[in-house]
Subunit: 332 residues, 2 copies
C-alpha cells in the first residue's frame, strides 16, 4: 500500500473589498484608474455615489454623477469635452428649445437622454434608484458596482442673494458665479442610505474618498443620515485623495463651493474640513500632490497621515498609479 | 354748410366656424385640405381630436393623433413614410433598446420625442392636455385649433383571445392581426370633454366628421360622455366623409376594427353605423366615393343625404376639393 498523502489547501484569500465615496467626473477618472490598478487581483470595487445633483427635467430623471461614472467606466464617455457621451448629438434638445420647454441652458444629449429615459421608465415602474442603477449598468462591463448613496430624492439647492435654486442651475447656468450662501440638501433628514451602502462600508477592507468636490459631492454623501456613523464604525481605514493641487481645483468650480462653507481652496484646509478619524472625523490618511508637500506637517499635526504623490490623473496609467498609491497608503 | 352724409356699414359676416371630429393620419390630410379650401375666407377650423391612442411609454406621454395632425399642418410630417416627422432619426430609441427598456417594436423618433418630452414636461407641471396642446401647437403656424376631445386619460384597450392590451400594442406590434373581441375605453365613464369642446360644437356653423377610423378614432371621440348630446343639440349640420372607398379602407387596418364591432367594410355600412341625425344618430349627410355611388339609395333610405365625390386625398388640391365638397354638402 502506498503511503497516504494528505494535501492541505490553504486558501490565502487576499481579495480586498474596496469602497469608494465618489462624485462625478473626478470620481469617474479615479475609479477607472482603480479598476486598472486592481485588474485580475479579484479585488471588488463598490462606488457609493453622490445623488445630490440629480433632478427631474422635462419629466425625466437625470443622475449626472452616476452617469459620468458609468460612461467613463464603459469607455463611452467624451474624453475631449470631459463629460457626457462620445458621439453625442442634440436633436431632442433642439426640439425642446423650439417648444420653449425645459432649461435652454441645460443640454440633454440624445444618447444621454436614452439613459435618462431608461432610468425614468424603471423609476415610474416603481423600482428604487439603486435597483434601477443595477438594471442600467448591466448593459455595460463596468467592473465596478455603482451604488447611489440613497434611493431618496435629496437634491442639493443653493442659497444665493438671487434666491434659492437647484444646484444644476447654479452650477451650469450661472457657472457658480453667484456667491453661494449655503448648500441645502432637500429632505435629507428623512432620507436613508440605499440598500447595500451601509453593508458595503461595514464589510470594506479599504475605504477611499475620491478627489471629488468636498462640498456638493462628498459632502452630500456624508450628509445622508447613517453614513458618517457607518464610516466611523467601519474596520477599514479611510484614505482620501485631495481634489486640490497646488492650491487650485483640478477642474470645475469647487473653489466656489469651498468658499461658501468657509474652507480655503487648499489641500490642508480640505483635509482639516474632513477631519481626522481619531477625533471624530473622516480620514485616517490623505493623499496630497507633491507640489503641496509643504502642507504635510499641518495635516499630520491634525492626526491624519499624509502621502505626497503625483495627483494629476492625465490618463489611465497616471490614474492607476494614484489609485495604487491610495491603496498602499491604506496598507501602511 | 355741406349736406351731411350718413354712411352705413353693413357687416356681412359670412365667416364660418367649422368643427372637425378627427383621428390621426386621415384626419390630418383632411384638415390640411380644409385649411386650403377656406384659406383667406376668415373661416375658423377647430379639430376635436381622438386621444384614445395616447399612452405613457418610458415615462413620456405620447399623443399620436394630435401629433400627426400637428406635424401635417406644420408641413413637418414625413410624406413618404406617411407618419411621424420628416428627417427623423432614432438615436434615443436605439439606446433604450440597448438598455432593454420600453417597447422594442415601438420606435420613438428623436424629433418626435422632443414633442413627447415637451408635452410630458408641461403635464408634469400640472397643465391639462388641452392647455399643453395650446402651448405645443403655438410653435407652429397651423391655421387650425387643436382640441383634444378630453383632458382625461381614456386609453383604448383591445380585448383579444391573447388577453387585453393597449391599442398601440394591438395596432403596431400585432398589426391588428389578433382578432379583436372588443375595444374598451378605460375610465371613460368618469371622463369629460376638454374645455372648449362642447362650446365649439354648440357654436359651430358646420360640423364635419373626418375620414378617420370609425371605431377607434371617431368612435372614441363619440364615447366621451357629453359629446353625443352636444352633437345632437348643435344647430350646425353634421357631414361625414367615408373612410371606405370602393369597399376597402384607404389606409391602416380599420377593417379589423369594423369587423370587431360587426360592421361591414363598406361606405353604406359605416353610414348606418353612425346613424341619421333625424333618428338619434350622428349624420345629416355623408360623402361617399364615386365608386360607391351604388350605395346611395341605402344610405338615403336611412335618412342621410349623400354626395358621391372623389374621396382620394392624393395631395393638397384633391384634399381641398374634398373639403369643399363637404362644405357644399353642408350648405345644401
Amino acid at each position: 500500500m502506498p503511503d497516504r498523502v494528505t494535501v492541505v489547501i490553504y486558501e490565502n484569500d487576499v481579495r480586498m473589498k474596496i469602497v469608494v465615496l465618489s462624485g462625478g467626473v473626478g470620481g469617474a477618472r479615479f475609479l477607472r484608474g482603480l479598476r486598472e490598478a486592481v485588474r485580475d487581483s479579484g479585488d471588488t470595487i463598490t462606488a457609493v455615489v453622490n445623488t445630490g445633483d440629480d433632478m427631474w427635467l422635462t419629466g425625466v430623471r437625470i443622475a449626472p454623477d452616476l452617469d459620468s461614472i458609468m460612461y467613463t467606466l464603459a469607455g463611452a464617455n467624451d474624453e475631449v469635452r470631459g463629460w457626457g457621451r462620445v458621439g453625442e448629438s442634440e436633436r431632442v434638445s433642439e426640439e425642446l428649445r423650439a417648444y420653449g420647454v425645459g432649461w435652454p441652458w441645460f443640454t440633454l444629449g440624445d444618447l444621454d437622454l436614452g439613459t435618462h429615459l431608461a432610468r425614468t421608465s424603471l423609476l415610474r415602474d416603481g423600482l428604487p434608484l439603486s435597483a434601477v442603477t443595477d438594471r442600467i449598468t448591466a448593459r455595460w462591463d463596468l467592473g465596478v458596482r455603482l451604488l447611489p448613496v440613497t434611493d431618496d430624492e435629496v437634491e442639493t439647492h443653493v442659497v444665493t442673494d438671487n434666491g434659492t435654486m437647484h444646484f444644476q442651475e447654479w452650477w451650469t447656468r450661472h457657472r457658480a458665479s453667484l456667491p453661494a450662501r449655503a448648500f441645502v440638501q432637500q429632505n435629507v433628514e428623512s432620507s436613508t442610505p440605499a440598500p447595500g451602502v451601509l453593508a458595503a462600508i461595514a464589510e470594506a477592507d479599504v475605504i477611499l474618498v475620491a478627489p471629488s468636490n468636498p462640498v456638493v459631492s462628498i459632502g452630500t454623501v456624508l450628509g445622508i443620515p447613517g453614513i458618517r456613523a457607518a464610516l466611523a464604525a467601519a474596520s477599514a481605514p479611510v484614505v482620501g485623495v485631495s481634489p486640490i493641487i497646488n492650491g487650485a481645483v483640478v477642474r470645475g468650480m469647487a473653489d466656489a463651493c469651498l468658499e461658501a462653507i468657509g474652507v480655503q481652496t487648499a489641500a490642508d484646509a480640505v483635509a482639516l474640513h474632513y477631519g481626522s478619524r481619531a477625533s471624530g472625523g473622516l480620514l485616517n490618511a490623505w493623499l496630497i500632490d507633491e507640489t503641496d508637500a509643504g502642507q504635510s506637517a499641518v495635516i499630520e499635526g491634525a492626526g491624519i497621515r499624509v502621502s505626497a504623490v503625483p495627483l494629476w490623473m492625465r490618463d489611465v496609467p497616471t490614474s492607476a498609479a494614484l489609485a495604487r498609491a491610495a491603496l498602499d497608503t491604506a496598507a501602511l
